[in-house]
Amino acid sequence: MNLVTSLATYAAMTRELGLPLRFPGTKEGWNTLQETTDAELFGRATLWALGEDKARNEIFNVSNGDVYRWRQLWNELAAFYDLPIAEPLAMSTVSEMSEKAPLWDSMVAHYGLHATPYDQIANWAFVDWMLNFREETILSTIKIRQAGFADCIDTHQSFRRQLTRLRDLRIIP
């Protein structure tokens, strides 16, 4: 499930509505320490695991190598769409966003995007889930690093790069 595409859709629609970019999750979700895994980093870890003898029959965690908080990462999304940020307000994006398909369809036409159906461009239930963690969810990556996979990426850079790529591919405005 692509959280970045969903969040970019949320931000682009927010801009279209002339609203500030509000974090639609809880204060806890805004503040807790999280981590994530860049898809391409995962791809490189996959090739490493397939070719590395020490990876046989083993289980590894892989993640970017740093941690993030939404209250910091949210700035990247706001900057990407040149939007001011609004304070967190816990809401359900499922109920707030699900009925806005006509707006998305008009944006597809207006910006000349690939015609991704609204129910495929964003997964609001996933957004609600991902922005509301009350617990820190950090997995140890010591094992894969000690086995020889040292690759890593800055989460903010990863987020910016994915947003840019989605725009370049004309998936989002």
């Binding site: 499930m1 692509n2 860049d38 898809a39 391409e40 980093l41 995962f42 791809g43 490189r44 996959t46 090739l47 695991a49 397939l50 070719g51 003898d53 990876a55 046989r56 029959n57 083993e58 289980i59 590894f60 965690n61 690939h114 963690f133 009350r134 617990e135 969810t137 997995l139 591919l169 004309r170 998936i171």
Partner: protein
């Protein structure tokens, strides 16, 4: 059992199932940067329009369809590495297990039927293996994902399962045909 029993990476051929989700896309991008790996993709959906230009060879297959999967994979005789990135989600975790296990089973059965020179299998589990999806529902105990074990019927080597969850491989048996088989425990 040594690494030297494996085919060199330059002659390896990946079958990537579920290529255009988040994980699959990452693997395709990594292979594009690392062209010593060969790759073929397989999915129910066609290659997305915006990825079509640089897409590796693609097989159209519905992994829920056993016969169709066997047929679709019937010419894949050179596959050495399976990366399993297919995933379907159902309303509950309990309902999600069965179709995903079935897709993996159909894939492995189809490759086993061809006796392809499979050396490694990579499964990605995400943090679900740790009960990640149960966060905030502390009255529930974390679910253990289903176990998969591979059994090779020669004594010379094992496969790799790279799996974010419980894993077991079994030592080889003695018979020679087929070269490998697998069990779901």
């Amino acid at each position: 059992m040594s690494a030297t029993s494996e085919t060199p990476v330059t002659e390896r051929q990946i079958l990537l199932v579920g290529p255009y989700g988040v994980l699959g896309t990452g693997v395709i991008d990594a292979v594009a940067q690392n062209p010593k790996w060969g790759i073929t993709t397989a999915a129910r959906r066609p290659v997305p329009v915006y990825r079509a230009q640089a897409a590796p060879p693609h097989i159209s297959v519905d992994l829920m369809d056993r016969e169709g999967t066997t047929k679709a994979f019937s010419f894949l005789d050179e596959v050495t590495d399976l990366v399993f990135a297919a995933y379907v989600e159902k309303p509950t975790m309990a309902e999600t297990v069965e179709p995903n296990a079935r897709m993996l089973k159909h894939t492995l059965d189809a490759l086993a039927a061809r006796n392809v020179p499979l050396q490694r299998i990579m499964l990605a589990g995400g943090a679900k293996s740790y009960g990640f999806s149960l966060l905030g529902r502390s009255t529930l105990r974390p679910r253990r994902p289903s176990r998969v074990s591979l059994r090779r019927s020669t004594t010379t080597s094992k496969k790799t399962l790279w799996l974010n969850g419980p894993l077991r491989t079994e030592p080889a048996g003695r018979s020679c045909v087929p070269i490998w088989s697998w069990d779901q425990a």
